[in-house]
């Protein structure tokens, strides 16, 4: 519906009547009806509809909070990420030679696949750096995915290195440790980039009085300790799990030396399937412990011991 200015004048409604208390501003408005019935843009309320992914995840994938300038804790975490990023990029290059990559399968050219691999690692490092610097979760997420893409190789049952300055290829244990260190670095990279966002959120919430933190040093100290302790434990445990193909023959060797020798030389056991088998056994045990409610028992034990 449109209303032109002349016909929009409603003054005739008041003709011959005494309108005592109709507000003057309203009378003024009544004579100024506009020529358009277009709804002003700011009149439409903003409705935040979650996207399909947000609905699946129960919230935004990347927090939409605007952060204040980073504090010392966040700056330190950012520095930590940069350090890990450099180490991770170098190690990714080391443990993912171009042979067996998707690019090698597609092009059949070692040079092209090397360039592609270097490009992906470079991009992963670049987006990781930018994402951490800007504290933008989208870039760090892309970086994480690119690092995973870089490690996707076919027919790599045995670990091979593209660059081996220390001759690690000759020692299965050292090679194992190298791969575990690489994996730990990757997981720590995931955690640290997430930590930058989390502590930026916390810092902003504290500074905008949304959250009050009592004794922040202790809480931050706990996180710092965990950043050191957890990767060490994770690394050691992972080495034990991944050495199942060595540990199993040792255990079997107690009962039968011949069987142990056959197991040691078995292609299946020293390949990725051996690793998978070992992992399966270990996690069956872990699953069993959880099924027995070990975390709760552990908590009860700690409470009792403290008493």
């Amino acid at each position: 519906m449109t209303m032109n200015t002349p016909s929009g004048d409603t003054k005739h409604l008041y003709d011959g009547k005494t309108v005592r208390s109709s507000a003057p501003s309203r009378k003024k408005l009544a004579g100024q009806a506009g020529g358009s019935s277009e709804i002003p843009k700011d009149a439409i309320p903003k409705v935040e509809m979650p996207s399909f992914i947000e609905s699946l995840l129960g919230g935004p994938l990347v927090p939409k909070m605007k952060f204040l300038a980073p504090d010392r804790m966040v700056q330190n975490l950012q520095l930590g990420v940069y350090g890990v990023l450099v180490a991770l990029s170098l190690m990714t290059y080391m443990v993912s030679p171009p042979e067996g990559t998707i690019w090698y399968m597609v092009t059949g050219s070692l040079a092209i696949s090397l360039i592609m691999q270097l490009l992906i690692i470079g991009l992963a490092a670049g987006t990781g750096f930018w994402g951490t610097f800007q504290r933008d979760g989208r870039y760090t997420l892309i970086s994480n995915l690119l690092f995973i893409l870089a490690i996707l190789r076919f027919a790599a049952s045995k670990v091979s290195l593209s660059s081996d300055p220390f001759g690690l290829q000759d020692s299965p244990l050292l090679l194992n440790i190298l791969v575990v260190v690489y994996a730990v670095l990757l997981v720590m990279y995931f955690e640290l980039t997430n930590g930058v966002i989390r502590y930026s959120m916390l810092d902003t919430s504290i500074r905008t009085n949304e959250v009050y933190v009592m004794n922040p040093k202790k809480i931050v100290g706990k996180y710092h300790r965990s950043l050191l302790i957890n990767p060490i434990f994770a690394g050691v445990l992972a080495i034990i799990v991944l050495s199942a193909n060595t540990i199993l023959p040792l255990i079997v060797g107690i009962f039968s030396t011949d069987t142990a020798l056959r197991m040691e030389e078995s292609v299946e056991l020293i390949s990725v399937y051996g690793v998978a088998l070992g992992t399966f056994f270990v996690f069956c045990i872990v699953g069993g412990l959880f099924a027995l409610n070990l975390p709760n028992h552990l908590q009860r034990f700690r409470e009792k011991r403290a008493e």
Binding site: R20, S37, P40, Y182, V211, Y212, K222, L242, V275, A276
Partner: protein, 437 residues
């Protein structure tokens, strides 16, 4: 409980593990194993908390709690159980850790959405030592009337990486009441034509025994010589006597429209908010004048406060007004039919409504006028609230405003004292406008 982060890491690990086996890629399997170990370690030993990394807020908590939270308890104390709009409420929350182990806790005391935290915080991250307690204090600003309750207290404990958490909702609730705020009125210009003799009376607009001057009239036999106005006699040459305004108390009935349509407009600026504040101010004024005041609030039901006097009556009325919720659509005619037999003829009736979505308004008010009730209508305009909030366009506003003006005009012809109450107008100004001052 798994956080979103741990669920994503777990899924990634499973995917990598299976992909590693398919592609015969040991690095992928190794990464998957490290992630599994990382998660297992956090699940086994994660007894402490830090910031909510998962992006989940305590509102979404489902209440899974572990042993670690069994020994945590909470108590709350409020500075007031009753206060007025825009008042402040100090909340003290006592958190107690009865365990011999220190705990890092995330505590959120849930407050009503309309409240603003003025000082302190209701969301705290803290380390609570073994067998220790701590007090959390914050101040709430209460901008809107109503019955409210604070609680529950949500407590969360999680591992340093935010992978797993345990949560507990402590059902500690404290209720409080926010009364509508009141405006000090010098005069309401509303006076009854029907006196009700009572001790401690106030003047009504009728001559009679009283203390305030009403008018001059000629002397009749039997008039007291003390009432003769000698100055007027000197001026006019006729014996003139002073008439005084008759002192009496009267019944005042306030009707508040609390139908769903009364809440049209922003939460803090709508007809119901204005009506309840006006009703509270008027009740205070009339009770201060020692009138009997009765209040009727109607929406999905008719709630009435019987006429009475005194300070206690004010709080009874304020409590009813605080609890008025915009619901239902009872026509005014139903309310009028119900109350007519119970009110004294000629009593002042003050009706507070946005006059919307009720075709019976004209007939209902005509019924009042036909029985010689002194009807005053204060009508906060929902249209103005909506227009100010830019929810309706100019054309729509003009059309609806015209309809409203026509309705107001029609009511005025019935002898109803009516005022189109604009949002920025003081109550006293609106009242004066309604009464033609």
């Amino acid at each position: 409980m798994w956080s979103r982060k741990s669920a994503m890491l777990g899924s990634l690990a499973v995917a990598m593990y299976l992909l590693g086996l398919t592609l015969r890629n040991e690095q992928l399997v190794t990464i998957a194993v490290v992630i599994f170990v990382f998660l297992t370690w956090a699940a086994l030993f994660g007894g402490h908390a830090d910031v909510a990394s998962s992006g989940r807020r305590s509102e979404e908590w489902s209440g899974e709690e572990g042993l670690a939270l069994n020994s945590v308890s909470a108590m709350r104390k409020l500075s007031n159980a009753r206060l007025f709009e825009d008042g402040e409420l100090n909340v003290t929350l006592r958190m107690q850790n009865e365990s011999p182990l220190a705990k890092i806790l995330e505590v959120k005391d849930r407050v009503p959405e309309v409240m603003r935290i003025k000082e302190g915080s209701n969301y705290i991250l803290m380390e609570l030592g073994p067998r220790r307690e701590t007090f959390i204090e914050y101040t709430l600003e209460c901008p809107l009337r109503g019955f409210y309750s604070i609680g529950p207290v949500a407590v969360r404990i999680q591992d340093p990486f935010g992978l797993f958490h345990k949560e507990k909702e402590m059902h500690v609730y404290d209720d409080f009441l926010v009364f509508p705020k009141m405006e000090d009125l010098k005069d309401t210009f509303v006076k009854s034509r029907v006196p009700k003799i009572f001790t401690g009376a106030v003047n009504i607009r009728q001559p009679g025994p009283g203390s305030e001057f009403y008018s001059l009239r000629e002397y009749f036999d039997g008039d007291s010589f003390r009432a003769i106005n000698w100055a007027a006699y000197a001026r006019s040459g006729k014996l003139m006597v002073n008439e005084r305004e008759r002192d009496a108390v009267s019944d005042v009935i306030i009707i508040v429209d609390s139908r769903a349509v009364a809440e049209t407009g922003p939460v803090s600026r709508n007809a119901l908010v204005y009506s309840t504040r006006a009703a509270a101010s008027l009740a205070k004024y009339f009770l201060g004048r020692r009138d009997s005041v009765g209040v009727i609030v109607y929406g999905d039901e008719v709630v009435s406060v019987d006429r009475d006097t005194g300070k206690k009556q004010l709080y009874v009325i304020l409590t009813k007004l605080a609890g008025a919720v915009a619901r239902g659509n009872i026509p005014l005619q139903v309310v009028v039919n119900r109350i007519l037999p119970h009110i004294n003829k000629g009593s002042p009736i003050i009706f507070l409504s946005n006059l919307e979505d009720d075709p019976t308004i004209v007939n209902a008010l005509r019924d009042f006028r036909a029985r010689n009730f002194d009807v005053t209508v204060l009508s906060p305009s929902s249209l103005e609230f909506e227009f100010d909030a830019k929810r309706i366009d100019r054309t729509g506003y003009e059309v609806m405003k015209t309809e409203r003006d026509v309705l107001i005009g029609e009511l005025r012809t019935l002898g109803v004292n009516i005022m189109d109450w604009e949002p920025d107008m003081l109550l006293s100004t609106a009242l004066a406008g309604a009464r033609g001052f």
